[in-house]
């Protein structure tokens, strides 16, 4: 399922344009599974499961599978509707070097929300 993010993001030219300054790998956690998402000029070039502790990214965004499933509902319940609504309720966690995340915050929220039945690009996550 996570690989679907790549297809949807790379099919969205406007989203790629907004992320045109983003060149990095970040860690996206679903429950106990970490995935490394590599972005080049706003395009997702690779998504792979993390197997080695030395294989890492600039920052991480993690939540349980159940929480992401709620986040990706067409109309998500309150507290799950945006990563920055999940953080204060400790439903999601972020860590690492946050500067590139903050410099492109709406972009990162939007690429993660892309799994929301294709509507995640313009609704702010």
């Amino acid at each position: 399922m996570i690989e679907e993010i790549q297809r949807r993001v790379n099919a969205d030219q406007a989203l790629q344009h907004r992320g045109r300054w983003v060149n990095l790998t970040f860690v996206f956690g679903i429950g106990d599974d970490d995935y490394l998402i590599t972005i080049s000029a706003g395009k997702i070039t690779n998504i792979r499961q993390r197997h080695l502790p030395t294989d890492t990214g600039s920052f991480s965004i993690r939540a349980s599978k159940d929480s992401w499933d709620k986040h990706w509902q067409v109309t998500p319940p309150r507290d799950y509707h945006d990563i920055f609504a999940m953080l204060p309720k400790q439903i999601a966690r972020i860590d690492g070097e946050l500067l590139p995340l903050m410099q492109n915050l709406q972009y990162f929220k939007d690429i993660i929300a892309k799994l929301r039945d294709g509507k995640g690009d313009e609704n702010g996550g």
Partner: protein, 283 residues
């Protein structure tokens, strides 16, 4: 073909507050009970354009919305370049009292959102006899920060972009896309450091949960209205505030976020009209 002008009139006036002079921009429409509207932190009075254009409201209320100093089309003080903007309880109250005085408002209703929803309770506590009623949208007497304010004002992060991205989490996912992004556009346009300076009041200087029980709602009725999806002033924060303000009337607005008047004006009207109807009957 002639243009169809919207009904609100925008004007400027000079305001003296605490020894400083500000050029203030305000819009108004309607006649009747004065209804002064206070915008959220980091935004401006454009948030109230739907209220100002609603004949069901302006037929009974003189609706006024002004940009705070440093916001929207109101100027900062002339020596602003030597000052780091920071809103305080004292300074915010002084501005609103000065506006009420300058406009010679008699028994106004004040409707503020977010930090505006917080300050109206301070004003009700201080001078309940003067105000007809207070509407606190997304306002609570005790809040906690959930991100570091320094992200809002630094040279390596675009302030407008990050502000809009932060507050987009506070908009309901069901609000119309057009109005979500209009609300966020206002955040993209704020002056450098202004949202951060407002949040000093909203998060750090504005708590008054220890004094909330002293508010006399018999003298000045208080209506607390908060959105289901507001992750800043949550329904829980609002209900806790209502517990402390004896006699406060509370509405949790389903399907609404932190910006009711601008993110979903049609839905907000369904919640607001009964409150305004009740306020109109207060003698």
């Amino acid at each position: 073909m002639a243009v169809e002008f919207e009904p609100m009139i925008g004007r400027y006036f000079m305001l003296e507050v605490s020894g400083k002079s500000y050029r203030i921009y305000m819009e108004e429409a309607g006649r009747g009970i004065p209804l002064l509207c206070l915008h959220t932190a980091g935004s401006d009075a454009r948030q109230f354009r739907h209220i100002l254009a609603d004949a069901d409201i302006t037929s009974r209320f003189r609706v006024m919305a002004f940009d705070l100093p440093w916001h929207g089309k109101s100027n900062p003080p002339k020596d602003f370049r030597n000052e780091d903007y920071k809103l305080t309880v004292h300074g915010y109250k002084a501005i609103i009292n000065a506006v009420c005085s300058a406009l010679e408002l008699e028994s106004p209703v004040v409707m503020g959102c977010s930090m505006g929803g917080r300050i109206v309770c301070h004003l009700a506590l201080e001078n309940p006899a003067y105000f007809r009623a207070m509407i606190a949208l997304e306002g609570a007497d005790k809040l906690e920060p959930y991100y570091n304010l320094d992200w809002l004002y630094r040279p390596d992060v675009h302030g407008g972009d990050v502000q809009a991205a932060f507050v987009s989490s506070q908009v309901a996912p069901t609000s119309p896309d057009e109005y979500r992004w209009e609300t966020l556009w206002h955040y993209m346009q704020g002056g450098p450091g202004i949202f951060k300076g407002d949040l000093h009041f909203y998060w750090l200087d504005g708590d008054f949960d220890d004094r909330s029980p002293q508010i006399d709602t018999a003298a000045c009725p208080i209506y607390l209205m908060s959105g289901e999806y507001d992750c800043s002033c949550t329904p829980e924060h609002t209900l806790a505030t209502a517990q402390r303000i004896k006699g406060a009337k509370t509405t949790i607005m389903d399907g609404m976020g932190h910006f009711p008047m601008s993110e979903n004006p049609a839905l907000f009207k369904t919640y607001l009209m009964p409150v305004l109807d009740e306020i109109a009957t207060i003698t």
